[in-house]
């Protein structure tokens, strides 16, 4: 094992060590902030190491046997280091670090024991996410895939005493698990066909066209289902908005920047395999684009600031998936990275707002720019990046995605994505205008967040700009049609203008507008009935069927048995009459026995 693998391994093991220490040493965990400091220290070192690995452009692979069997190990674990994982390492460690620092202030009022628990989970999450990123094979990826899901579950349910949080945590777990059912079947099938989980070996065979197995399309589709769940693609996107019940930094880290992108990362990682099954790719592209549009429409009618951002995340994940489906996985991955930065920024800024006003409802905010200008500025930076305004990071990655989809001749998905650009600008500026400008609503005195929270915000904002400029300087390789930039800019501007006209100037009454688009409005506000559909299916189908089976088991399967035993008891009760307890009656029995013997001896001998 050499430095290129050892350093990423260090990145992986540092948060793990922090987790183990926090999990085992209870006094430290209960100390709260000190637990946070330990976790942050581990993360900072990990970040440095990741940065080194990225800058140096390390490559390498190291594996160890995990599940042995007679003919060599069935499964291995290890680290796979390449530019893809290096970039992700930096993103994950960076956002984790910033979020952990931010949480120190954001969750400062929590009881120490809870805060310690929070940082324990955070360390575990960082470890799991890094493990996922470094996976050299599908199995390890699945292992960490589930672990990040676990962390998501635990962190959404951080305030476990709130029924809504408890519900959301369980819902998130179930829905993503549903996708994982496909994932696990997929990798089982893949293993049965090829005998390996290893990316390197699979890709090599794919390159040599030696991967002609029956049903590869099915297998890849099943694996993709895992990504559908984790990356909140239609129709399994319903858990992500609910996941906003967790603390805001958690939403920033897990439900915007890192974990939800695992699906995209996986599709990107397994690109050589997906490339063999164009049908599945096209499906991925369609579903991605549709998800993007669907989520954007729901974001337009949402009034909870975090949920708007959540729908926006779903929408952007749709972009990434659409790019992956179009075969432009690089573009999708670039969008993943830039989105990770500015969406984390948006969430953290939203967290600062929520922290200040104590509500999530944008209509109970207003005019906050005056009270907290710094937060306002970084929020607007994030908004511009999300809306795809040059020279911010989001612009370039979004252009790359759009051009990739166009060049793959996925015309309808392209149109959906283009429309989404308009909607994105609209719903984001809607939030900006309502929250930061407009009439001051709250009677309280909102104030700027403490520096522990502002620091990460500014850093992320600076990175968003810097990455954008870096891309503007060096990112001219992709061949986009000339009309693409004007088109997307125009769409974004239309969205912005619409939001401005409706929520800032009052030129258009939002109510009239929604009446005009009544059917959409109606559906979007009800989340297109998908949540209700799931709830109904769950209650009627799963629980109903379970009750039926439970009843059958208790009263039919067991009933037959109880009838048998009751009959035995009855027969016994009938026969016990013979047993009078009087010795003389038994003498009758003896006498009859003797008589029987006589008769037998006389007649049948």
């Amino acid at each position: 094992m050499t430095l290129p693998t050892r350093l990423p391994l260090l990145v992986l093991l540092l948060p793990f060590a922090a987790f183990v220490v926090l999990a085992v040493v209870a006094p430290l965990r209960r100390a709260g902030a000190r637990a946070g400091l330990l976790s942050i220290a581990a993360m900072s070192v990990a970040f440095m190491a990741a940065l080194v690995a990225w800058v140096e452009g390390f490559r390498g692979e190291a594996t160890w046997s995990w599940i042995p069997s007679d003919g060599g190990p069935i499964a291995t674990v290890g680290v796979l280091v390449d530019p893809l994982s290096n970039a992700m390492l930096v993103l994950v460690t960076l956002v984790s670090l910033l979020v952990q620092v931010y949480s120190l202030a954001y969750l400062g009022d929590e009881p120490p024991a809870s805060l310690g628990r929070y940082y324990t989970y955070q360390s575990l999450f960082a470890f799991s996410m890094l493990g996922l990123v470094l996976s050299p094979g599908f199995l390890q990826m699945f292992v960490f895939w589930e672990l990040v899901g676990l962390c998501s579950y635990l962190l959404i349910g951080y305030w476990y005493q709130r029924p809504a949080a408890a519900r959301a945590a369980v819902k998130a777990f179930w829905i993503t698990k549903l996708g994982d059912v496909g994932f696990v079947i997929g990798i089982v099938l893949l293993w049965s066909a090829t005998g390996t989980f290893d990316f390197g070996e699979l890709f090599a065979r794919a390159q040599e066209h030696a991967l002609a197995i029956d049903g590869l399309g099915t297998i890849m589709f099943l694996i993709y289902l895992g990504a559908v769940g984790k990356s909140a693609q239609f129709p399994l996107h319903v858990w992500l908005p609910d996941a906003m019940e967790g603390p805001t930094p958690v939403s920033a880290l897990i439900h915007a920047a890192t974990m939800v992108t695992a699906g995209v990362f996986m599709v990107t990682r397994a690109q050589p395999l997906f490339a063999l099954v164009p049908d599945v790719l096209i499906l991925i592209g369609w579903v991605g684009a549709f998800t993007a549009l669907l989520a954007a429409t729901m974001a337009c009618v949402e009034s909870d600031i975090k949920r708007v951002l959540a729908y926006s995340t779903v929408s952007q994940l749709g972009y990434m998936m659409a790019a992956a489906g179009a075969g432009a996985a690089d573009a999708g991955f670039l969008h993943l990275l830039t989105h990770g930065l500015f969406k984390a920024l948006l969430f953290l800024a939203a967290g600062a707002v929520i922290h200040a006003v104590g509500t999530n409802d944008i209509f109970r905010m207003g005019g906050l720019f005056r009270a907290m200008p710094q937060t306002g500025i970084v929020f607007i930076v994030g908004t511009l990046a999300l809306a795809g305004v040059p020279p911010l990071a989001g612009f370039f990655s979004k252009e790359a995605v759009l051009s990739g989809v166009w060049e793959a001749h996925l015309t309808v998905p392209f149109l959906m994505l283009a429309l989404t650009v308009l909607l994105t600008a609209f719903y984001m500026f809607r939030v900006v205008f309502i929250t930061f400008f407009g009439r001051a609503f709250e009677a309280g005195h909102p104030h700027e967040a403490p520096w522990l929270m502002r620091g990460p915000l500014w850093l992320l904002a600076a990175l968003t700009v810097a990455v954008g400029i870096r891309l503007a300087v060096g990112g001219g390789e992709h061949e986009a049609p000339g009309w693409l930039v004007p088109l997307s800019l125009a769409s974004a501007f239309v969205g912005f203008a619409l939001a401005w006209a409706m929520y800032q100037r009052g030129l258009v009454d939002p109510a009239t507008f929604s009446t005009a688009l009544a059917p959409f409005d109606f559906l979007a506000r009800r989340r297109y009935g998908i949540d209700a559909l799931y709830a109904g299916l769950y209650r009627a189908l799963v629980l109903g069927f379970a009750r039926l089976i439970g009843w059958i088991d208790r009263y039919l399967v067991d009933g037959v048995l109880n009838v048998l035993s009751a009959l035995t008891l009855r027969a016994g009760a009938g026969l016990r009459g013979i047993q009078s307890g009087r010795a003389q009656d038994y003498v009758y029995g003896v006498a009859f026995g003797v008589l029987l013997l006589f008769v037998w001896a006389q007649l049948w001998r």
């Binding site: 003389q584 009758y588 006498a591 009859f592 003797v594 008589l595 001896a601 006389q602």
Partner: protein, 164 residues
Amino acid sequence: MTLETVGFGVVAALLLASSLAVVLTPNLFHSVLYLAAALVLTGVVFLLLEQPFLFAVQLLLYAGGVVTIVVFAIMLTERLVGDRIGQASRHPINGAIVAAAVFAGIVGFLIQAPVRATAPAPAGDTTAALGRALVGPFAVTLELLGVLLVAALLGAVYFARSEE
């Protein structure tokens, strides 16, 4: 009709009569007295079968011992109860039928059984031979019997002893 036949007839009749009296007398005390008679008469049957020693044993042990014990027992329980113990029969008809059926069954066998040649009457006194048999081939049985009697004695004492 020889004297022996007459004697047997008389003894048998008396035995049956006293036996019936045992099981039919309402008074328990009388019943015991009839039992004593029946036992003595059984002894006489033994005499008829040329076993004078058994006759003696029967008189001593049975008629003497058993009857005495039973009389004691009755008197003891009567004293405890404080009045005479009555004796009624339960389901006499059922009992009679079953008993008659068993009797019939036995007789059925007896009728079918082949009649074997009668051995000559033992010459001289059989008592000596009996004694030799007891300490000879039956010695172990005799010892075991002794053990049994001791055990029964202890058991009887245990059951009947007063509560501390």
